[in-house]
Amino acid sequence: MKKTFRHSMAWLHTWSGLLLSWILFAILVTGTATYFRHEITRWMKPELAIPISKNAPAHAIQNSLMYLNDHAPSSENWFISLPGDRSGVSSLMWWNDESTETALIDPSTRQEIKPRDTRGGEFFYRFHFQLQLPYPWGRYLAGVAAMFMFVALISGIITHRQFFKEFFTFRPTRAWLRSCMDFHNVMAVLALPFYLMISFSALVIFMHMYLPWGNMALDKISAPAVTEESPMATPATPPQLLPFDQILALVEKESAGLSLSRIVIRNRGTEKADISLFKNNSKGLSSSRSNQLRFSAITGEKLPLEDLAADGVVGKISDVFYGLHLAHFANPLTRTLFFIMGAMGAAMTGSGMVMWTQKRKAAQLKKKRPSFGYLIVDRLNLASITGLFIAIAVMFWANRLLPTEIAMRELLEVKGFLYAWGLSLLHACCRPIGKAWLEQLWIAAILYLGIPLLDIATAWQWMKISISNGDGLFPLFDLVMALTGASFGWVAWKLATRQSKATPSVISTKTQEA
């Protein structure tokens, strides 16, 4: 299309990078936060300040099962998430007829704990691939964004063949566009394998949704893989479930010496009743389902695993992709590393977005009226970079400030997030863009710097307990918030000095990387 292959790829990199960058940036930021979703949940539900330990305490299994036996004796399915190194409580779920009931209990006392009504870290997890859109459109949009990211990465690599050389050329003192470009390149090169892995594995995770044609083609020539469940014969006498104390004894015996993460008892009251024990998966990379034990809840004998993990090599590869993307295997250090690489990915995307406008600024300012596309991109950049961070901060503030007893509280927090984001876009469109950047950067800085103070003012009673348990959650979370705020403040301050130096005509469209 252009003179050379590399020029074409540079063009492709620019446009495939820009077109969905506003969505991609939000996906990257929320996905990065998702690495610590359990920690975010614990911060947003401070009432759960209970000591956490590497392994579930021995009595946790007993208390969880006894709670369900007391409160859900007739439910068909019980699900127990045991406390572990990322949560101090037992999380229980059961089905009552059509509705799902949940409870969080203190594993030592079997007391139910009722934290404030909030989505917690789950919000980021869900937003990351569903974007608050109705099913299945959010997932499709996220898939399109992942494909764009993958294309932008590949074309970017082709464009910057010499990226190793470029990696060592960071010129922060040079012209703004030059240093922005260097920053973009450094961010890209430092964690390139991570970006390739994260975008490709995103596509692999949802491959049965995005490319269902393989199974469909096979179904045409052979019987479908999933055999239909044979209608369950209703036995004359309902099968006798093992008495509760025997189930308890069985689970305790089989779990001795193991570190369990979940217990699932399904189909209680039918002849297919079974007990599954899931071991903590912290050894392997892949999210394989093989670390499971299964027993009949009628006879107590060991059953084969029904959900066969992929045996083949390729199946294992896609399992590894899945596992890498979710990083459930990771210990805190590795998870922090993934978090940093995710944040760098967001920084790469953000600096790329800002570069697009910076490159065109000089040409646009010569015109009588800058083109509509240029104006739109500049404003969308502001709203999607700074606006998103403001929205997240507003959600954290709402979490601490909204009274705990109001109805639909968790929805109000999400609404706060969405309204704040909308307001940021409105503000970006109404104000001169240079001023708008500066104002929003300051707002973000103040909101994030305020979170630690807000936390101490509103949640000190739980923070106290948590810290005395030797848990660093609250101080660390607040530290990250303060650092985020400080970075926004630093960028705002840099931008302000740059704007005051620049000639007045330049001020109106000046932007800065966030």
Partner: protein, 102 residues
């Protein structure tokens, strides 16, 4: 730079970009979908292996289609380069599912 601005003003250039974009997105997906179906049937593997392998290669095909669409010399070539392999894959799928080839 000046040359680039000039070419961008020509209507032909814009139509070319629009046509290539469609070839890269719609054509690219068609190629990925037909490759997935075709390779699943052709690859000498069990279903558990063939389905993910074919889908992963389908994504690679998609990426190749996008790169091809924007790097070849004319928009017609862009379409040809994406649709001809798509048609070949579909032919194999049709022959396979119709039982015409084993």
């Amino acid at each position: 730079m000046t040359q680039k601005v000039n070419t961008q003003k020509q209507p032909n250039y814009r139509w070319g970009v629009a046509s290539r974009s469609l070839s890269a997105t719609l054509g690219g997906y068609a190629l990925a979908a037909s490759m997935t179906a075709c390779l699943t049937l052709v690859l000498p593997m069990s279903r558990q292996n063939a389905v993910p392998a074919a889908a992963m290669l389908g994504y690679v095909g998609f990426t190749a289609a996008v790169i091809w669409s924007f790097s070849c010399s004319s928009a017609w070539k862009a379409w040809g380069g994406v649709l001809i392999p798509t048609a070949c894959c579909l032919l194999v799928v049709w022959l396979k599912t119709g039982g015409l080839i084993k």
